[in-house]
């Protein structure tokens, strides 16, 4: 059984944050009806990589959903939405604040049709506050939240986290929120409004710099790949890329020195405790780097594992995709997508043994399921034909 079987989601989301959220629901069996702009579709359909004119970006985050192409600016379009919402459990959107309200499809309007609808809104800055109307891109949120200041190397440019975590981490938080709201509805019968902001989601997980400021009034900035409180604990260049190794505490310096074939360092008065090593980061790091540069990732993994020192290669994407652990975890599933054809989908990382996620089908082509969905909501062939002629669908 799929845990969210019977749950219907009307999904207005596009780009990344919203679709990432609704993908989690779809993976676990919810009926996610993706509403796309007639003719244009989700903006991510224009994002690389492409195959046969179809977007792989779009395909990767929209599997397991049904696609309806609709012009919600028309009266008929709005009526169709309301008809669907009447029987739905959840509405999800990530428009600019106020967009659906202006179209007459906001929470208050939709509550008239379905008083217990769960109405979930993802936005850059939230539904309230002085910045609520601001457009948000992932990099803008990473910048304003303080995340960018904390990532990258000291005396160098603040660095954006490569993958758009402003989007996907926020989407995941909204999924958690939706499930809590749905659980609450099962218990009380009541729906509600949900509001998750990218800014809040990212600011909320900065940890240390916030705590250092509030507890000790100390300012923090980025420290590269090391840790201010631990040495050695870093990423070092090696013969065929980069490799990370480190001691998570005071213990182990003797083993580390043996691993890098420098037993004479064990008793070096500058390096004998973690605190001293932190003070002499600039002394010890080049010594370690010199050793690493002579070895490959595989060699270093063997050495450090044999000395029981936590370690990992900095994997490239191809190395990761071919890694036996990823295979053992079934994290790659072959899918056939109507757009891009055969590809390896990234499986859902939430492993539940009785109600697992299912990679059932690929991402819908634009308008692929319009007819099927409208029929399921009681529209006749004639009505559907008329909608098409009037360019509503």
């Amino acid at each position: 059984m799929k845990v969210l079987e019977g749950v219907t989601v009307i999904d207005f989301t596009q780009a990344y944050s919203g679709p990432f959220c609704t993908m989690q629901l779809a993976d676990f069996g919810a009926r996610v009806i993706k509403i796309e702009r007639r003719g244009l579709g989700d903006q991510s359909r224009e994002w690389t990589p492409f195959k046969d004119g179809q977007s792989g970006y779009y395909a990767a985050i929209n599997r397991n959903k049904e696609g309806v192409s609709l012009d919600i600016n028309t009266e008929e379009g709005k009526e169709i939405i309301k008809r669907m919402v009447k029987d739905a459990d959840i509405v999800v959107e990530n428009f600019k604040v106020g967009t659906l309200d202006k179209m007459g499809l906001g929470y208050e309007e939709l509550k008239k049709v379905n008083p217990e609808i769960i109405f979930a809104s993802i936005s850059g800055f939230g539904q309230n506050g002085p910045l609520k109307d601001l457009a948000a891109y992932d990099n803008v949120v990473q910048a304003m939240s303080g995340l960018m200041e904390m990532t990258g190397f000291p005396d160098d440019v603040p660095t954006k986290v490569g993958p758009a975590i402003g989007d996907n981490f926020t989407g995941l938080n909204m999924c958690f929120a939706i499930l809590m709201a749905y659980f609450n509805k099962l218990n009380t019968g009541k729906g509600q409004r949900l509001d998750v902001a990218m800014m809040d989601a990212i600011f909320g997980i900065l940890e240390s710099p916030i705590l250092f400021k509030t507890l000790l009034n100390e300012d923090s900035s980025r420290v590269g790949n090391s840790d201010v409180t631990l040495v050695p604990y870093d990423v070092y260049p090696c013969k065929d890329g980069y490799f990370s190794a480190g001691l998570p505490g005071e213990a182990g310096w003797d083993r580390f020195c043996a691993a890098i074939e420098m037993p004479e360092l064990i008793e070096d008065p500058r390096l004998i405790t973690n605190d001293l090593r932190c003070q002499h980061y600039a002394v010890v790091t080049p010594i370690i780097t010199e050793f690493f540069l002579k070895k490959t990732k595989a060699e270093l993994a063997e050495i450090f594992t044999s000395y029981k020192i936590p370690n990992a290669p900095v994997s490239t994407i191809p190395e990761l995709i071919h890694h036996p652990q990823i295979a053992a975890r079934e994290m790659l599933v072959e899918m056939v997508d109507p757009g891009v054809g055969k590809y390896l989908a990234i499986n859902n990382p939430m492993k539940l043994d009785k109600t697992p996620a299912v990679m059932a089908f690929g991402a819908p082509l634009l308008g692929q399921d319009t007819e099927k969905v409208l029929k399921a909501f009681g529209y006749t062939d004639e009505q559907i034909k008329a909608f098409a002629e009037k360019e509503v669908i």
Binding site: V3, L4, A60, G126, P130, Y137, S145, L147, M148, E149, P158, T159, K160, G162, L172, N173, F176, A177, L179, M180, A181, N184, K190, V196, A197, G204, I205, L206, E207, S208, P209, I210, F212, T214, L215, R222, G224, N225, D227, Y233, V235, Y242, S244, G246, P313, S315, T316, I317, P318, L320, P324, Q325, I326, Y343, L344, I346, P349, M350, K351, K354
Partner: protein, 397 residues
């Protein structure tokens, strides 16, 4: 009322990832009972920043939870746990693989007491696979998962995210998975096993890179602060820091040039289209833009571009972000009275729910603060408690 009121969680998690998951559950009303090792407690109690012997890191992750100090490796300790679990909904742990088994607290053992328990595990590599025995520290997980390969500049090293993203992400997945299991249990009466790996979690948020490799056979290098399909989408030098901009259409480009008085760039044929701006970005356009922006302050640039309704944000230091009106309006910094630290301000709850709001109004528990409460509830007498303390089976605050 909170959505998870009435849900009882027996919580073996410590450090970061697992504790984040149970923090989310506690923020929304679950009764989260931390089982901490008597005498030692959660390792996060020793994490900076500290005031005296107490950690703000620990307070941040463990606000609103309860604490029982217990030696779970003893028969008496296990007996207490089994009694606690009888009416629990969820058990959470983020130990090294095999630890719960070694303590006699495997899923199979727990199911004998409570057949419909939701047993949720989180660790570096999960409960299966050739690497299941390997401990996953945040740096190693960011490294191995491809996350670092994707972050940083093409001519620079792979870069770690400042915060422990592997922990944050996997913790959030664990809380989400627990919600799925609670919903499933509500419908079927059955519990189940949950298995979250930090590696899997980070792998799932690499955005387009794995798909690009699938479709193209190769992956482009990491791109620093820019974005391959949109130009300019980057972080530019200001005279007192940096500012991030996202100009995604040609019309926006014109407004951008107007706003910053860059008539020559606006007229330049090379920069008329998004595609050609992308082509010339690293070979002239970026330098031309920074020649202008590096003379203006970051907040001034932000103000100017916002007036033109263009997407942009200064690179705020964390302290500046904390001071922003938006963060205040969203209650993202909350001050509580913590029994160890006194008054302390910690990050708030990002998720806003209109009818069943989450949040917290107290700090984190002292080690063993609730031992007496729970054991008395289970029927232990004062005399029995005294003996258990003397034998170091339990710790009471």
């Amino acid at each position: 009322m909170k959505p998870l009121e009435g849900i009882k969680v027996v919580d073996f998690t410590q450090a970061h990832a697992g504790s984040l998951a149970t923090m989310l559950l506690a923020d929304f009303g679950a009764e989260v009972i931390k089982i901490e090792r008597a005498g030692v407690g959660d390792m996060a109690r020793y994490w900076v920043p500290m005031k005296g012997d107490d950690s703000a890191y620990y307070t941040y992750l463990n606000r609103g939870k309860k604490s029982i100090g217990l030696n779970a490796s003893t028969d008496e300790g296990r007996e207490i746990i089994f009694k606690l679990i009888e009416d629990a909904d969820v058990l959470c742990e983020n130990f090294k693989y095999g630890s719960m088994e070694r303590m006699g607290l495997s899923y199979e053992e727990i199911k004998k007491i409570n057949p419909n328990i939701i047993f949720a595990s989180l660790n570096g590599f999960g409960q299966t696979g050739p690497m299941k025995n390997v401990i996953g520290l945040d740096l190693q997980m960011q490294a191995m998962s491809g996350f670092m390969d994707r972050t940083g500049f093409p001519d620079g090293p792979p870069t770690k995210a400042g915060p422990a993203m592997g922990d944050q992400l996997s913790g959030t997945y664990m809380a989400t998975a627990i919600m799925l299991a609670l919903i499933s249990k509500k419908k079927t009466g059955e519990g189940q096993r949950i298995d979250i790996a930090i590696l899997d979690s980070l792998f799932s948020i690499l955005e387009a890179a794995p798909m690009t490799y699938c479709l193209k056979g190769e992956v482009p290098l990491r791109v620093g602060n820019s974005y391959p399909s949109i130009s300019p989408y980057d972080t530019l030098k200001a005279n007192d820091g940096y500012v991030s901009v996202g100009i995604s259409t040609d019309r926006q480009w014109e407004k951008f040039c107007d706003a910053l008085g860059m008539d020559d760039l606006k007229a330049d044929e090379r920069y008329k289209t998004n595609e050609s701006r992308g082509d010339y970005y690293e070979t002239g356009l970026k330098d031309a833009l920074e020649a202008v922006t590096s003379k203006i302050s970051k907040f001034e640039i932000e103000r100017i571009l916002r007036e033109a309704r263009l997407a942009c944000g200064a690179v705020y230091t964390v302290s500046e972000a904390m001071e922003s009106d938006q963060i205040k309006a969203r209650n993202m910094l909350v001050t509580v009275e913590d029994k160890a630290l006194g008054e302390v301000t910690i990050p708030g709850t990002a998720i806003k729910m209109s009818e069943t709001p989450g949040g917290f109004n107290e700090g984190a528990p002292l080690l063993g603060e609730h031992t007496q409460h729970y054991l008395k509830e289970l029927g232990y007498t004062d005399a029995q408690l005294k003996t258990l303390v003397e034998n170091k089976i339990i710790e009471m605050a």
